[in-house]
C-alpha cells in the first residue's frame, strides 16, 4: 500500500528547472532512498513532500493517517533547549504535560545512547550526538513516516557508519516508513529497499530509475554483490 504518491512534480526556481516530471510512490513500511548528484532536486522534492515548499506543478497525495517527522542535515536543534527539551519539543507543542513527556522520551534517550547527556545543550555535543538528538526529536512524536535529509553528511565517516546501523535498527523495530535523501550511493544501497535515482540532465525527467535492492539484510557492505549494486547505480548516474 502506498503512503505517499508523488505525481508529476515540477519545480522551477527563477526559470531554472530543478525538478522535472518526478513521479513515484512510497510504500508503507519500506526504506526508500533518493540519491543523485548535488543540485538534482532530491532535497527540494523531500521538502515538497513535507509541504515545506510548493511545487510549480504536480501534486503530492499523502495518506490521511501518515504522521511525518524530519531529521535535518545540519541537525536544526534548538540551541536554547537541553537535549531532553529538544527531544520533547514536538510533544510539548501537542500540549502534553511535562511529567508525561519525560516518561515518554526516556526510552528514546536510552535507545539513542544519549543517557547522561539529557541536560546538555546542543552546543556542548559532538556532531554524532547532535544527530542522535535530531533523530530522537523525530521519533518522540511517533511518526509513521520518517524523512531524513542527508542526515549523516555533517558527521565523520565512523560516526555515520554507527548511526546508519542504529537507524536500521530503529526502522526495523518500529516498522515505520523511511524516506531518506543522500548523495552517497553506498549509503543508499546499504539502507534502502528501493532507490530513486536522480539525474542532472535538464532536458530529461529528474528521475532516471527506481531500483529495487534485493540484497538480504543485514547487508554486508564489503561483499561482491554489494559493490555490484553500487557500481550499477553509479553507472546510471554518470
Amino acid at each position: 500500500m502506498s503512503i505517499i504518491s508523488v505525481k508529476n512534480i515540477h519545480k522551477d526556481f527563477a526559470n531554472n528547472s530543478v525538478l522535472r516530471d518526478a513521479s513515484f510512490e512510497v510504500k508503507e513500511g519500506e526504506f526508500l532512498c533518493m540519491v543523485g548528484p548535488s543540485g538534482c532536486g532530491k532535497s527540494t522534492l523531500l521538502r515538497i513532500m513535507l509541504s515545506l515548499e510548493k511545487p510549480t506543478s504536480g501534486e503530492i497525495i499523502t495518506d490521511k493517517s501518515a504522521k511525518p517527522a524530519l531529521v535535518f542535515q545540519n541537525f536544526a536543534l534548538f540551541p536554547w533547549l537541553s537535549v531532553r527539551d529538544n527531544i520533547g519539543f514536538g510533544l510539548k507543542m501537542k500540549g502534553m504535560p511535562k511529567a508525561e513527556i519525560d516518561k515518554k522520551i526516556l526510552p528514546i534517550i536510552d535507545e539513542l545512547k544519549l543517557f547522561g547527556s539529557e541536560n546538555f545543550h546542543p552546543k556542548e555535543l559532538s556532531g554524532g550526538m547532535k544527530q542522535r538528538v535530531g533523530i530522537g526529536r523525530a521519533l518522540a512524536i511517533e511518526p509513521s513516516i520518517l524523512f531524513l535529509d542527508e542526515p549523516f553528511s555533517a558527521v565523520d565517516a565512523l560516526t555515520a557508519k554507527e548511526l546508519r546501523k542504529d537507524l536500521l535498527e530503529i526502522w526495523a523495530k518500529r516498522k515505520i516508513t523511511a524516506v531518506m535523501v543522500t548523495h552517497l550511493v553506498e549509503e543508499a544501497v546499504e539502507l534502502a529497499d528501493r532507490v530513486v535515482v536522480f539525474g542532472n540532465d535538464k532536458n530529461k525527467p529528474s528521475i532516471i530509475e527506481i531500483a529495487e535492492i534485493d540484497l538480504p539484510r543485514p547487508r554486508d557492505t564489503r561483499s561482491k554483490e554489494f559493490f555490484a549494486e553500487v557500481d550499477k547505480l553509479e553507472d546510471r548516474i554518470k
Binding site: L50, L52, P68, A69, L70, F72, Q73, N74, F75, A76, L77, F78, P79, W80, L81, F89, G90, K92, M93, K94, G116, F120, H121, P122, K123, E124, K130, R137, I141
Partner: protein, 250 residues
C-alpha cells in the same frame, strides 16, 4: 563519560561564581558610597535623591515595557515578508534619525496636565529604536532550518511565538534592550529638566546644579552612575550572559 561530565559541570558553574563575586564586590562599593553620600557630608537630600531615582526608574521601566511590546510587534510585522520589509525599512530608518526631543514642545502643549505621560511617551520613542532594529536583524539572521523544525514539530501561531520566535530572538532583544535602556537614562535627565515634575533624578540634580551646590551635584552624579551600574550588573549582564550562553551553532 563521568569524567567529561564533571569537567563540563565545572565549566558551567565557574562563570556563575565569577558573576556572583563581582556582584558582591560592586554591592559593597555601592553600600559604602550610599552611606557616605547620605551621611550628610555632601549635603545630599536623601528623600529627594531616592524618590527622584525611583520616580525616574519607574518612568523608564514603563517606557521600556511599552517600547519592548511595540518593538516586538513592529519588528515581527515588518520582517514577516520581504515586500513589507522593503517598504517599511527605509521609513523606519528615517524616523530613527528623527531627534525625539523635537516632540517635546508639541507633546507638552498637547498634554499640558500630564508631565509624566509626556516624559514616558518621548522616552518610549527613544528606547524603541535599538530594540526594534536588533529584532529586525535577528529575524533576518535566523536559521531557516530551525524555523522549519519548529513548524514540522507543531509550533504554530502563539506556540511558535513563545517556543521559537522569542527564544531565538532573545540575544538580539537583550542586546537592543541594554542600548535602549542606557539611552533612556541619558534622555530622562534632560527630559526632567525640561518638564516640571514633582520627583525625578534629573530634576533633583538640576536643582543642585542651579543652586550652586557643586560638590553635592558631583557626588549625586557619581551615586547615580553607581546605581545604574548596579542595575546593569544585577539585571542586564546576567540576562545577556544567559541568553547567549547556548546560542551559536547547534
Amino acid at each position: 563519560m563521568r569524567y567529561t561530565h564533571q569537567l563540563h559541570h565545572d565549566k558551567l558553574i565557574r562563570p556563575r561564581f565569577r558573576w556572583l563575586s563581582a556582584g558582591i564586590f560592586f554591592l559593597i562599593i555601592a553600600i559604602v558610597a550610599v552611606l557616605v553620600g547620605f551621611s550628610g557630608l555632601f549635603d545630599i537630600d536623601k528623600t529627594a535623591f531616592i524618590a527622584g531615582f525611583f520616580s525616574s526608574l519607574f518612568r523608564i521601566s514603563v517606557a521600556y515595557i511599552l517600547a519592548f511590546v511595540l518593538a516586538v510587534a513592529i519588528g515581527l510585522t515588518v520582517s514577516a515578508n520581504s515586500e513589507i520589509e522593503e517598504m517599511f525599512l527605509p521609513i523606519l530608518d528615517v524616523l530613527q534619525s528623527f531627534p525625539s526631543f523635537v516632540l517635546f514642545p508639541i507633546l507638552v502643549v498637547a498634554l499640558k496636565s500630564q508631565p509624566d505621560l509626556v516624559i514616558i511617551l518621548v522616552l518610549t520613542i527613544t528606547i524603541i529604536w535599538p530594540i526594534l532594529f536588533a529584532i529586525i536583524s535577528g529575524v533576518k539572521g535566523r536559521r531557516e532550518d530551525l524555523e522549519e523544525a519548529a513548524t514540522i514539530f507543531g509550533a504554530v501561531r502563539q506556540k511558535k511565538f513563545f517556543n521559537f520566535t522569542l527564544p531565538m530572538l532573545l540575544p538580539s532583544i537583550v542586546t537592543g534592550s541594554i542600548v535602549g535602556w542606557g539611552e533612556g537614562w541619558e534622555f530622562i535627565i534632560g527630559a526632567e529638566l525640561l518638564v516640571s515634575t514633582h520627583w525625578g533624578i534629573g530634576k533633583y540634580l538640576g536643582q543642585l546644579g542651579s543652586s550652586g551646590q557643586n560638590s553635592s551635584l558631583f557626588f549625586g552624579v557619581i551615586l547615580l552612575l553607581l546605581f545604574l551600574f548596579l542595575i546593569n550588573r544585577i539585571l542586564w549582564l546576567p540576562l545577556l550572559h544567559n541568553s547567549t550562553k547556548y546560542q551559536a551553532d547547534a
